[in-house]
Amino acid sequence: MQRMETGLRTETITVNMGPQHPSTHGVFRMIVTLDGETIVDLEPVMGYLHRCQEKIGERNTYLQNIPYTDRLDYICSMSNNMAYVMAVEKLAQIEVPERAEYIRIIMVELTRIVNHMLAIGALLNDLGCFFTPMLYGLRERERILDLFEMASGSRMMCNYMRFGGVRYDLPPSFMAELKSVVAALPAFIDEFERLLTENEIVLVRCRGVGVLPPEKAIAYSCTGPLLRASGVDYDIRKVDSYSIYERFDFDVPLGRNGDVYDRYLVRIGEMRQSLRILEQAIEGIPEGEISVKLPRVFKPPEGDVYHRIESPKGELGFYLVSDGSTNPYRYKIRSPTFINLTVLPELCKGHKVADVVAILGSIDIVLGEVDR
């Protein structure tokens, strides 16, 4: 757009978005410097939900840390549990029985579907269609939360996984309910797509906005749907396979342009692939033990490990340093959304203020994980 040369002296204006803002997904603050309506610079300010999780991790024993991992990324509590529990199992070399592995995969893939539903609902909420897509997503999410409640006793903070397995076995009515949910979900995803994918407003507001080229994505350590929408084929379930993922047959959806629209399409594609994994897990789940017996006072050997999984938001990793006692010496959480935010100023430069909300929604942050 051509600027008129009028000889007027203009200045940039600084606008503060947040921390209390309807569209910042939590308490997140952005200091935006504008020239007219175009963004010149953006500075993210975080720490409004810093709850001292890493220091608490050093105060607690290994087992006491599991409920605190629920509260990291509070929408995907099962994935967080799994990442921590697998890190400790790598440290102490504990084998997990077959049935427990299948149950874990079922829970984690259900979590992936729940997270993507909420992410897409929240993105569209911010684009302006206040609450309709969110209500659609939340309606199906309630059915999956009922499944979590059946298995673990709680809707959100499940605290379900233990070192060497899971806490409770699946109740008898679980499999029937799971089969009916898995049978009904493809129709729901089709309905969602019919409403949104070819929608004119979504196309105009999301195509070409916040383009992230693949080299930049790798340099800025982005992971998850943000990276795959730029075309980089890196999914930790395929690359660095953990648990029993190599037995399942699934694809990794990739984007082409790396804009907000591609990230939305990648999330829809991942929901469909999770359904494929769930169907195979339901077929193959064996009978058997669900956990191993561990000593009362759990002291893993000395050393340090780093274990990472593909959580719905990206690469979630735990780095644990053990000095042979009952508490971790250093408990570090590699949080995907905190590191994905490094690229936010680059994505927003040159766009309008209204696009900031769409770009932030497509990165899909959760403040419990950003600030820990």
Binding site: P19, Q20, H21, G26, Y48, L49, R51, I56, L138
Partner: protein, 191 residues
């Protein structure tokens, strides 16, 4: 019909005799507009309470305003950290009276699982007055709705004669803490 019977009939249909308090409180409690202050995990359960399964629009509360100037109720949902507390108090001061505060979840009541750490406030009632406490981690949406019903009962029990917001000597503004080098500092306090 005679004239007296006619007048009696009309009065029975169109005239209600009640107290000012009852009408006033009925209007106020049937449309409490919350300002959802979703800080952390409890915010997700608050959104679920607003969604179609546990709808709180049946109570007239679906207008969740992001701005404090149009809200009656502040739902503090989630942990309040040291960095965020000045913002919470400032927003409370900006709400017009009559205003209520509902502390949702263990973290807003007393710090929750993160109590006694270097960046967490042990409960929001350290800085602002709270009317209803809803315990849980996170409380189920049904528990939050029970909290709302308790709030409605509280509102129905109030009366204009002794209400605090029409009095001159009532405390209007809560002091806003600032971020000092060792933690939060209230104005007028030594470090």
């Amino acid at each position: 019909m005679t004239e007296e019977e006619y007048i009696a009939e009309q009065v029975r249909r169109n005239v209600i005799i009640t107290t000012i308090d009852k009408i006033y409180n009925w209007g106020r409690r049937s449309s409490v507009w919350p300002m959802g202050f979703g800080l952390a995990c409890c915010a997700i359960e608050m959104i679920c309470a607003a969604a179609s399964r546990f709808d709180f629009a049946r109570f007239g509360m679906e207008m969740m305003r992001p701005t404090p100037r149009q809200a009656d109720l502040m739902i503090v949902a989630g942990t309040v950290s040291n960095k965020m507390a000045p913002q919470v108090v400032r927003l409370y001061d900006q709400m017009p009276e009559p205003k209520y505060v509902l502390a949702m979840g263990a973290c807003a009541i007393s710090g929750g699982p993160f109590k006694d750490t270097y960046n967490v406030v042990n409960g929001i009632d350290t800085y602002i007055p709270v009317d209803v406490y809803v315990p849980g981690c996170p409380p189920r949406p049904e528990a939050l709705i029970e909290g709302f019903i308790k709030l409605h009962q509280l509102i129905e029990g109030q009366t204009i004669l002794t209400s605090p917001w029409y009095r001159k000597e009532a405390e209007r503004e809560m002091p806003v803490p600032t971020l000092g080098p060792k933690g939060l500092v209230l104005p007028g306090e030594d470090e």
